[in-house]
Structure formats: C-alpha cells, structure tokens
Amino acid sequence: MMQRSNPPTHQQSFQQSGKALPMIILALVALAAGAFASQAFRNSSETTTDKQAQQLAAVQETLKTSQILPLDFKQVQDFELLDVNGNAIDQSVFDDKWSIVFFGYTHCPDICPITLQVMKGVLAKIEEQNTAAPQIVFVSVDPVRDTSEIMKSYIAYFDESFVGITGDLKSVHTLTASLGIVTSFTANDTDPNNYLVDHTASLLLIDPQKRVRAKITPPHEADIIAGDFLAIVDAPS
C-alpha cells in the first residue's frame, strides 16, 4: 500500500532494479484479492436484499388490506406547509416515528369523517397490543377551503393528537404528487363554492426514515388496518 501512496518512488525502484517485480506481483495479488472481496461483498449484499424481499413477500401474504412497497419506492420530500395552528410544518414531522397518512378534505361528508373515525379505532387497537401507536396525519387535498382554523376544529372532533397539514395549494400539490396521490377538482354548476374533489382513497404508511412502506387500500376497517400495521412494523427493513 506504501507504493501506491508514493508512486514516483516505486517507479524509480522499478527502473533502477529488477527487484521491483515481486512488489508488482504482490500489488496485483492485493488488487485481485480486493476485487474478489468486493465481489463477495456484493454477493452477500445481494443475498441480504433477496432475503429481505422474500421476508417482505412472506409478510405481504399475511396482510389483509395493505400493499407493501419496495423499501426504495418513495420517500417524503422536503416541504413547507401549515399545521392546524397556522404554524410552519415540514418533513421533520415524519422523523423517528411511524405515520399513517390520510388524504382528504372537510367538504367530504361521506367518506372522510368515517376514515378519521376509523383512524381513532386503529390507534386504540394498536395500543391494546402494547405497541407504540403511529402518528395519524391528515393532509388536506383542498387547502383553499381547509384553512388551519377549519382543520383544527374538524380534527379535534376526532382526536386532538392527529396532525393536520394544509397550506398553499401549489405546495400541497407538490407534496401529494411526490407521494403518488392524485387529486382532481369537479366544478359545481349551481354552487361554485361547493366544488368536489376526487382523491386517492388509500392511506400511506410512512416509516421512521420517511420511506413510504405501504399503501392501505379501502375499505378501511380499524381491526384490519391495526393488524396489518403490526405485521409491517415487525417486517425487516
């Protein structure tokens, strides 16, 4: 290794005498060994990944309403939005804890309130199992009508611990789009204030490294979601 750090000397000794040859052979052997070692390392990391994939596939078999996503599928991107108190909130809200994220809006009387009600049930079921409950995050897909103030009273009705995210429409859209969430607006011909918003129905499960780990598909039922959550949290990552 000395020769490498000091090539001119090595070259000199090579030119000056044939004694340098064994050194070169030694260096080649070392290189080959290094190459082999790195090859071996690559093999072992491949096996780990394969094993992990197999384990995740086995966990997937046990899930009732969730779709496990590859570990490198998506990560929460940096964002700057508003919480229910009108304060800045960013990606760090997802740090070091599991989160279940729901995308909806308060002008949705049929599906959205029931989903939040179900989330309350999910937390209760998980806590019964003495496992740390995930953080529940409600991201408004209709931030123009869903001001922080409205979000606050709406969410508090279900559970004050739920995190609400709203803010500038474009920034919300950047966040939702980066997570693969679709939203589309339908005008109301008779009442322009009462437009409708179509949105992805699935919930997302985000891990403590901010990776999107699973999609929780509807219909949403507390027992089933809690069971899937407990299985995914125990899965290798």
Binding site: C108, P109, P113, Y157, T186, N194
Partner: protein
C-alpha cells in the same frame, strides 16, 4: 241492458280503480339519519333506506330541505383507488326493490352549513319523485350512535 253487460261495464270501472290503488302505494322510507358533522364542516350527508313497494319504477328527481342548505343527490364511489362523489340528476328504484342511501354510496348531500347541526334535532327533507313529493324526517345522531346502528345492522345480517 242485461246483467252480464252491466257487470262488464262495472268491472271496467273497478279494475282501473284497484290498479290505481296499487300504483298509489307510497314507497316506505326507513332508518333516516344524519350523522352530526364535525364542527367547522360545511357539509353533511343524510342516509335512509327506500322501499319501492309499488308496481312501478320509482324515480327520484330532486331533493329540498327545510333549511337554507343546498341539497343534492350524490353517489360516492371508489374506482381505481380514487374516492369520488358525483351529483346524480335522478335515481331509479325498480318496482319491489329497495335502495339504501348509505356510507360510501348514495347520500343526500347538504352543503353550506352556517350553524352547527345539533345531535337530537331533526331535519325535514322532501324528495321529488315520480310518485309525488315524499317527506323524510331525518334525526341527527352522533357518530357513536351511528357506529352502534351499524353494528346492530351487521348482527341482523348475521342472523339472516
């Protein structure tokens, strides 16, 4: 006129009359409820079950209420993982069939809530239908009452 002719003439009056009575049989509306919306919500959904006991298709063409809220017939659905509500111009219920307005499906959408809707109060909806106007008294219930109701329905279903 002999007796046979008289009977035939009489029957001509009686038959349409009885058919008319069958037509006039009003649809039955049950389990009407509106789950109290969270504070801050500007919208709510009313549900009920409608049994078309008549011999003709029942068409619901509109809805109004005794409040200043804007009301529409909506259908919720989840298609390809997209949750959506769509306004319905009309809803048809075949003769002898029943249709549940319920969570995740048909609902009466109430929009523009200006004052909180209290649990325990009642709301009056009027459905415009092919059988005339149908009044629906809708009690406002709490979410807890709604989930108890759901459980009871499930148990009834299990017994069947």
């Amino acid at each position: 006129m002999n007796i046979v002719m008289r009977s035939i003439i009489a029957l001509c009056f009686v038959i349409p009359l009885t058919v008319g009575i069958a037509h006039a049989e009003l649809p039955q509306i049950n389990d009407a409820r509106l789950v109290q919306p969270p504070p801050g919500a500007k919208v709510a959904a009313a549900y009920f079950t409608i049994d078309n006991t008549s011999t003709e298709t029942l068409v619901i063409t509109g809805v109004s209420s005794n409040t200043d809220m804007h009301t529409e017939i909506h259908l919720s659905s989840v298609v390809d993982d997209v949750a959506r509500m769509q306004k319905q111009d009309s809803v048809e219920i075949p003769a002898g069939a029943s249709l549940a307005f319920k969570h995740g499906s048909y609902h009466i959408m109430l929009m523009g809530i200006s004052e909180p809707i209290a649990a325990g109060s009642e709301l009056l909806l009027t459905l415009q239908t092919s059988a005339g106007e149908l009044p629906v008294v809708v009690p406002v219930i709490t979410p807890d009452e709604a989930s108890t109701m759901k459980k009871m329905n499930h148990e009834q279903m299990d017994k069947k």
